[in-house]
Amino acid sequence: MEAHSFLPLWIALGAIPGALIRYYLTRICLEKFGGEFPFGTFIINLSGAFLVGFFATLFQSIKADLTLNGFVIIGFLGSYTTFSTYALDTSNLLKLASYKRAVLYGIGSPVMGFLGVELGIALAQRL
């Protein structure tokens, strides 16, 4: 990836709504479903994986501008999804000895995230 003068600005602009939506969605899920299972981060990471597959393929086929890639993929989706909270949630579930949930979340996230990204790619290719 070559340097682009305004690219960091677009990344920063995408990162703000990404992180804010992640925060509020996590809070809404916590209120709705309780804290037994980290539904918030689970839904966020899976939807983010689907969207990144879709948009990365779409941008490649329409030869989109580098700034659009920076805004949506590096900025927004990179900030919307998170790996550190996923690891922390898994560790907390293990600590609480709720092994079924830990396995469902810890293995379910990468497996279903993989399916999500492939679904996004396939959908963008059909367009």
Partner: protein, 154 residues
């Protein structure tokens, strides 16, 4: 006068803390990724791997440290560092996209290493972060360390 009142509102403080952290986190990810790519190449997406692993370490460290009573993080600082910075610095979407690309190139061994390795190494480094924070808390106040270990289930 008005400026002061705006910054006293919890919603404004929350949004500002998360936004500032997210900008720094996403830009760190971008520049660190560029530096890593020019250093080791893009054969295996090492940059996202290293970013996620280091982010997990910092998450374990800071989340544990801020639970203790020795070191107290203001809720806004917690949002800035954990939700904003680390949340934006680490990424799940690039991780899944990278592994899909490796699979597309039929590089199964690299894909398996990257896909499984990210999760296991991330969890391991999170626990190193937790252990490091607990060790540090024990150094700062031995009584706190025992109290903290008793309270681990929280």
């Amino acid at each position: 006068m008005l400026k002061q009142r705006i910054w006293q509102q919890p919603v404004v403080r929350t949004v500002a803390a998360i936004s500032l952290g997210a900008i720094a986190g996403a830009l760190c990810r971008y520049y660190f990724g560029l530096a890593m790519n020019s250093l080791v190449g893009i054969a295996v997406p090492y940059s996202t791997l290293v970013i996620n692993i280091t982010g997990c370490f910092a998450m374990g460290f800071l989340a544990t440290l801020s639970l203790g009573q020795v070191v107290s993080l203001h809720p806004d600082v917690r949002l800035l560092l954990l939700t904003g910075f680390l949340g934006a610095y680490t990424t799940f979407s690039s991780y899944e996209l990278d592994s899909a690309h490796l699979l597309e190139q039929k590089r199964f061994q690299a894909d398996l290493f990257y896909w499984v390795g990210s999760v296991t190494l991330g969890l391991m480094s999170l626990h190193f972060g937790i252990a490091f924070a607990e060790w540090l808390l024990g150094k700062l106040d031995p009584a706190e360390a025992t109290l903290h270990q008793r309270d681990r289930s929280n």
